[in-house]
Amino acid sequence: MSREQAMVAPAESRSYYGRPIVKEPAWEQPDVPLYLFLGGTAGASASMAALARATGLPRLARTGTLVAAGGSLASVVALIHDLGRPERFLYMLRVFKPTSPLSVGSWILAPFSALATASAASTLTGRLGPLGTLAGAGTGLLGPAMCTYTAVLLADTATPAWHEGRRELPVLFAGSAAASGAGAALLLVPTTETAPARRLGLAGAAAERAAGHRLEHDLGVVSETYRTGRAGTLLKAGKALTAVGAGLSLLGGRSRLASAAAGAAYLAAGVCTRFGVFAAGVASARDPKYTVIPQRERMARNTKGAPAARGRPS
């Protein structure tokens, strides 16, 4: 072995020749980050659509319905592509397992995408209006869950950046999904009906920013993974795009172009955020110090006054 490897520094964090302890997420890119993004966008859009229908904003309702359907179907496609074979998605529905966020998610995603598709079909064909509205209401109710279950999906892993960020990720994903859903509306709906979307976008951006800041600074050594490397670049871009989206939606007045640009910026920000979070997870799994140091710190906290820590001579 090389001298660096042979003489492992005793302080900080030791490792087995610098090899990772936990495995990197087995999920493919771009499939799974896109799945996260599309699902969230669809969820927020569906909720908006349901309320828009109720409050008499037909274009917002129509667009939201179509985005919810398209987004959730694309999300399913992304998942199937990751699984490799279509029938493997059906295996997701063999059982319902509350301990598995992916099982729970599948049971959210499957009815959501079915209802969203029905609602969209009704909207497009103009048939079975009441049933379409009912389906739309269903997707509207499931929408918020679509926005946040994916955060648990990531956080319920041993991937340090995700698990350590388990408190922040749901807020981040909720905010990001709201901004993205709003972004789709801003992009596609005339400004006469986008006021709610504008407001939702701002709320989402604020929530995303707050959670993002905590991820970048409050997770100890693991926060490095959100600030540096590919994840850092993507998340910085996401931050900037969110700011652009928010600014344009506030300052653009009634300009259709400014509104569309704001929407596009929100959507791009959503993509960057999801890819960034994913990248942070990969980076945190690759370097064993992100596994070891938080655990050692936890042990040090727990051993104050407690019996000898595990893995120590006793």
């Binding site: 072995m1 090389s2 001298r3 490897q5 042979a6």
Partner: protein, 852 residues
């Protein structure tokens, strides 16, 4: 041991668990070192200095087990007045002839012993034969041919039991090793005096009446120009400490290959017959009487050699072997000189040897100086390779390194190569005899695939077909084959001969059926036995090699697990575990003792002594064979019943182990003017040039070895994915200091150069390789596992290609464990540039064109 014998190492771990201290002496820090209490890193090739230091420590501090030494060894024997020791002659013993490079051993005999037969015998042996051999015939194979007993001494020595006589062995020994001080050991071996003394104290404290120490060595000890003397040095130490023939003692040889012990018991060696009966010589052993008369010890159990030999001849030629025709003694082949493997390669090169069988052997990778091996094989008429895989020795004509360098061209190689796929051990019935002399039967688990067949199938049917062809021959030279007993029941779709029927033949039979002990063998032709030391393995018509009573269901000696030769005896010479009066040396180490009431020896093992010969038995005048040994002579295969601290006969290179440097050494010999063993066997030729001693061109020492993950030359491992992936390619091991000095990078490539060739290897920089301080200098050692060649899944250059052919003169084994080289970063040149690089080094070292 953990590296190469991991399964056997479980018992070391068990001993450790019970409180045994494990000391590992090895140039490298291996998996064995990792589990030992102490690792002693010494310079490769310096073991006799280390062992000699221990002997000196024992003698200098009066730590020997005096009662044992006086009673059971030749410590008190008086040597001749004209014997001169290495101490007197600066590294030579008396009798050395610088012209021939050989010793006349006359002066090594005991005082008063008639040396004439031995000396005369040697003169006869020195008989250059222009027809078949090389210059080395003279001493060929003599030492090995003493078989499982020692050499013959034709008289009992004069003994001084006080061990005070200045010419007694004990005093000679003391003088011989007096300069092997801890400081000398440190200077030669690179072992600190503190560590040396730790070891010395540990083994002496753990030896004596109540305790015993075991030494375990692997083939690394035998791969030296003084390999035999390495083992002798350990023997002397163990005898002085009373650790032979006692439980927990001994010198345990771990051999290199499954059933390698078996392949010397039933030999694949040229100079012995089954059971270590010497192969007759063309010019000395004209008939059975001469053969037995010259070689049988008149006293001791070798005194019965005639019975063993006649029974062997009966097993081979059956009804055709009768008293009238000397039991067909004339049918046996005869030696005309050295027919050892390296001499054979030179005979191939010179065109004398035209055909070659390789059976489970891959010399293109596994033997020293692979190029010489490949060039030899390229000069044959035909070559038969029986192996599990297409090994390098079967494909050298196509992908050997010499094809790339242009030294050989496929279309110019005339050798016709026959490759015959072999069955593995799980695909056939048979037995393994491993290091502990245990015959363990294995049953066929599955049929061999395709055309693969067992060796037994191959030789049986080959013999059958040859016999058929010669059926009507009247040529007298065909009679040995025509009269050979060759009937084994064959069965199954492939006509596989019954392996158990062969075991039965080896066991032997008499008028009453299967024999149960070699003491039943006779010289009148009424018994037959294929290998006298295996006699009893089929006692009662039962295959005892297949005995498998678990250890938990029998006593601790576990005599019903498999069968140990001879006579299912688990510890040899175990009479030595009792004192001369037949009482155990201590209760703790009780093993064999004389039961006066029953008037017999008793033991959980089979006593290695005549069952009813009392301890106070004194042999009458002119007694023969075992009757000539006293009741307190435990070493019953020796003519004098004693273990030899000093070897008055039997060795070609000195009666006492002496530190000589390896032939290729980075340093001088501080003890004697004589640098290397004077009797070592040198060869020459443009492909076997030697690196000069202390050469700055080849400044580093290297040693070769094996890894757990691969098997010897790779035929059984490099084609298997599960093993290959564990060690996927050839690498060398170097210390961080050497890496720094030469610019080697961990994971990068190195080129390693000797006067023979240059090879490349990936680099493992590791703290486990430690530079040593020797002769006031830092000596770096390069570690080279030797498993690789171009074939298979896990590939690489062959480390053995770097080695020269230079041999131990007793047994013709190559010095593979200590040589010199240069190492530098980067890959080796390709094509013709490779030999050019080697020649450039030779030029710089001043050896280009040398023919030694």
């Amino acid at each position: 041991m953990a590296e190469c014998h991991p399964v056997g190492f479980q018992w070391v771990m068990e001993a450790k668990n019970r409180g045994a201290k494990i000391i590992h002496v090895d140039p490298r820090f291996t998996r064995t070192s990792a589990l030992a209490h102490e690792h002693v890193a010494l310079r490769a090739g310096s073991d006799i200095a280390f062992l000699g230091g221990l002997i000196n420590y024992v003698l200098g501090n009066g730590k020997e087990f005096r009662d044992y030494v006086v009673a059971y060894t030749n410590a008190g024997a008086i040597l001749r007045e004209d014997y001169a020791d290495a101490e007197d002659l600066d590294g030579l013993f008396s009798g050395f002839d610088p012209q021939t490079g050989r010793y006349d051993v006359t002066t090594w005999a005991y005082e008063g012993a008639d040396p004439a037969p031995a000396a005369g015998e040697r003169e006869l042996w020195v008989h250059p034969d222009e027809e078949h051999g090389g210059e080395h015939h003279g001493r060929s194979a003599r030492a090995e041919s003493y078989g499982s007993g020692g050499a013959t001494v034709h008289a009992k020595p004069i003994i001084d039991e006080t061990l005070e006589h200045p010419r007694c062995v004990f005093q000679v020994l003391k003088r011989h090793y007096a300069r092997y001080t801890p400081e000398a050991v440190a200077d030669i071996c690179g072992v600190s005096t503190r560590q040396f003394l730790d070891v010395a104290e540990a083994i002496t404290a753990n030896s004596g009446r109540r305790r015993t120490t075991a030494w375990v060595y692997s083939v690394g000890w035998t791969h030296h120009t003084v390999g035999v003397q390495y083992i002798r040095a350990a023997s002397i130490l163990q005898l002085l400490l009373g650790n032979i023939g006692r439980p927990g003692g001994g010198i345990l040889a771990l051999r290199g290959h499954a059933s390698i012990q078996g392949s010397t018991d039933i030999p694949t060696l040229f100079n012995i017959l089954p059971g270590y009966i010497p192969m007759p010589h063309a010019h000395q052993h004209l008939d059975l009487d001469m053969h037995v008369g010259l070689d049988a010890g008149a006293t001791g159990f070798w005194g019965n050699m005639r019975s063993y030999t006649v029974s062997l001849l009966k097993a081979w030629w059956g009804e055709h072997a009768t008293e009238d025709n000397d039991f067909r003694f004339d049918h046996l082949p005869r030696l005309t000189g050295d027919h050892g493997t390296y001499q054979t390669v030179y005979n191939q090169l010179s065109g004398k040897c035209k055909g070659y069988f390789l059976v489970g052997e891959n010399p293109a990778v596994g033997s020293a100086n692979g190029k010489l091996q490949r060039l030899g094989m390229a000069n044959l008429d035909w070559l038969v390779v029986r192996d599990l895989q297409l090994i390098e020795s079967a494909t050298f004509w196509r992908d050997g390194p010499e094809i790339d360098t242009g030294e050989l061209a496929t279309e110019e190689i005339g050798t016709e190569v026959f490759f015959l796929p072999a069955a593995s051990h799980v695909e056939k019935d048979g037995s393994f005899t491993n290091t502990q002399r245990l015959l363990q039967w294995h049953h066929k688990a599955i049929e061999p695939p395709g055309d693969s067949r067992s060796d037994l199938w191959f030789y049986y049917h080959l013999g059958r077909i040859i016999k058929q062809r010669l059926r009507d021959s009247t040529d007298p030279r065909d009679r040995p084959v025509r009269e050979l007993t060759w009937s084994y029941p064959a069965h199954g779709p492939t006509d596989e001969p019954d392996a158990e029927s062969v075991l039965a033949e080896i066991n032997g039979s008499g008028p009453d059926g299967p024999l149960s002990a070699y003491t039943e063998l006779t010289d009148d032709g009424s018994t037959s036995c294929g290998c006298w030391i295996y006699c009893g393995v089929y006692a009662g018509g039962q295959n005892h090699a297949a005995d498998r009573v678990p250890g938990s269901e029998q006593d601790w000696v576990a005599a019903r697990w498999a069968w140990a030769w001879p006579a299912n005896r688990r510890i040899l010479y175990n009479r030595a575990s009792a004192d001369p009066d037949g009482r155990p040396w201590s209760e703790r180490k009780r093993y064999v003792w004389w039961d006066a009431e029953k008037a017999k020896w008793v033991s959980p093992d089979v006593p290695d002594f005549e069952a009813t010969k009392p301890p106070d038995y004194v042999p009458p005048e002119n007694a023969q064979a075992e009757d000539a040994l006293a009741g307190n002579d435990p070493f019953i295969m020796q003519t004098d019943g004693k273990a030899w601290l000093f070897a008055p006969a039997g060795l070609t290179d000195g009666p006492l182990p002496t530190h000589y440097e390896p032939h290729e050494s980075p340093v001088d010999n501080p003890l004697y003017a004589q640098q290397a063993s004077p009797a070592r066997q040198l060869f020459g030729g443009e492909h076997n040039r030697y690196n000069p001693v202390g050469s700055e061109v080849y400044p580093y020492a290297f040693t070769t070895y094996r890894l757990t993950e691969h098997h010897t030359a790779g035929g059984m491992s490099r084609a298997l994915p599960y093993l290959s992936e564990l060690q996927p390619e050839f690498f060398c091991e170097v210390s961080p200091a050497l890496a720094e000095e030469t610019g080697l990078e961990h994971g990068g490539w190195a080129t390693i150069i000797s006067a023979r060739t240059a090879i490349e290897a990936r680099v493992l920089v590791t703290e486990r390789m430690k530079p040593l301080r020797v002769r006031g200098r830092t000596i770096h050692q390069v570690g080279l596992p030797y498993h690789w060649g171009p074939n298979g899944l896990s590939t690489g250059d062959s480390a053995n290609d770097l080695l020269s052919v230079v041999l131990d003169p007793n047994v013709h084994i190559q010095e593979a464990k200590a040589a010199t080289c240069d190492i530098r970063p980067g890959r080796r040149p390709r094509g013709g540039a490779l030999p050019e690089l080697v020649r450039e080094y030779q030029r710089r070292a001043g050896i280009e064109g040398s023919e030694t």
